[in-house]
Symmetry: C2
Subunit: 226 residues, 2 copies
DNA sequence: AAATAAATCACCCGATTGGGTAATTATTGG
DNA sequence: CCAATAATTACCCAATCGGGTGATTTATTT
């Protein structure tokens, strides 16, 4: 069987609870893919250690920590040591924890309730470059990406503005309208008369099938017609 | 060494190009983790095959196909057969392809330029449940998630509405305002007088530090104060 | 050359808005 | 219990808005 060779993995563990650190270290050290494991009781110490020398491939980072928490730690780590993969371990599956962790570039968001074999698989997948998102968060993950406007590969995210057939000038006016400018302010900005600005806005409302500028602005913002 | 055991993987390949299908099938079949490989020249045939019987664990789906494309196919597959993992193979690294694929629930978005060993690793990681996002798209991935408003675990996504200190009633009015309703329509909707609606709107404008309802609506939409 | 569309401006009119000021009634937190 | 806040309404006023209708100029297309 053509088995995949994994390079040895240098691991660090950051958790405020000593017993957790000891246990995790013990059980993970039985996998000889793991080269060495260092542990830290808080993120500050861990980050300080990165600066002095030993940079691990992966860090298992608990969410609740004394000092800076797992999310902020992820941000700092990814900023200065982007090669370090971060696996967030959370006992809380609060979706906001997940979303914020992902925003900061975490490679995995893992419930502490999983067993060590699963964790090991996740560590390997992450080491290879994968992201791991638990079943509880898959929907959030999907929703994080915008829905395509069509399934035509050429027009996946074709702005709806063009489907409204707004002219160049009208898009320009719409943009100012979205900024909350009045007709006369719009007029001043692009050097036309207030009457013309008014005419443009009227045409925009017609084309967008709405009856007032607030609706036009909301649709413009929601559908990214900048 | 405590090696991870992978269950055999049933694979399908969907690509319009016969040569690609043959070559891929040939090279992947040298990995005996792969149980059997079926191939299809378009997504319609593949999806039809799912309905008749043989459901694979993973499908390698080309983006450009005759008939429905890889993205739409992903949508249909995930809707009816959510257990099937979809790996999108694209020769084009257009970010819109990536984003749309991810929205539809693809498990990996892979450039066709990778080699078979890497592909195999990705297949394994995906089979376990991981997501794989290539280095070209990591930034897009990060940006897909909203930035936290703070690093306090209790207030990661505290809506800015509360920083505007809008009352419950005001938020209710703001919501209707965002829908493009006039003061009198708002009044009818929540059964208050037009004067009261007007007063609420005035207070909202003050609290949000804007001078007209369009700006309030735009800020509300952009900052998710629904 | 003719037709079409985009951009420009004017004038009218009734409805709506935003900014004040002021007052009444809960409700709630010290 | 008292002060503060929220929610309610009224009235006034100037400015703005949205809906018409109509007209001119300049490109672009046919």
């Amino acid at each position: 069987m053509s088995s995949i060779k994994y390079a040895k993995i240098r691991l660090s563990i950051v958790d405020s609870c000593l017993l957790t650190r000891i246990s995790l270290k013990h059980i993970l050290s039985t996998f000889d893919i793991i080269e060495k494991i260092k542990d830290f009781e808080n993120a500050d110490n861990f980050i300080a250690s990165l600066k002095s020398s030993h940079i691990p491939d992966i860090v298992l980072m608990s969410m609740d920590l004394n000092g800076i928490n797992g999310i902020e730690a992820t941000k700092l780590i990814k900023k200065e040591f982007p090669k370090v993969k971060v696996i967030i371990l959370s006992s809380n599956k609060d979706k906001e924890y997940f979303i914020a962790s992902m925003y900061e570039g975490a490679n995995a968001f893992v419930q502490k309730s999983i067993d060590h074999e699963q964790l090991m698989k996740i560590i390997k997948a992450v080491h290879f470059g994968a992201y791991w998102i638990g079943p509880d968060h898959i929907n959030l993950y999907k929703e994080a990406f915008p829905k395509p406007d069509s399934y035509d590969l050429q027009n996946l995210y074709k702005k709806q503005a063009s489907s409204f057939d707004l002219t160049v000038r009208e898009k320009q006016v719409l943009k100012l309208l979205v900024e909350g400018k009045s007709n006369s302010e719009i007029a001043k900005e692009i050097i036309i008369s207030t009457n013309t600005a008014k005419a443009h806005v009227g045409n925009i409302l017609n084309k967008m099938h709405v009856t007032d500028r607030v609706q036009a602005a909301v649709i413009a913002v929601k559908s990214n017609i900048i």
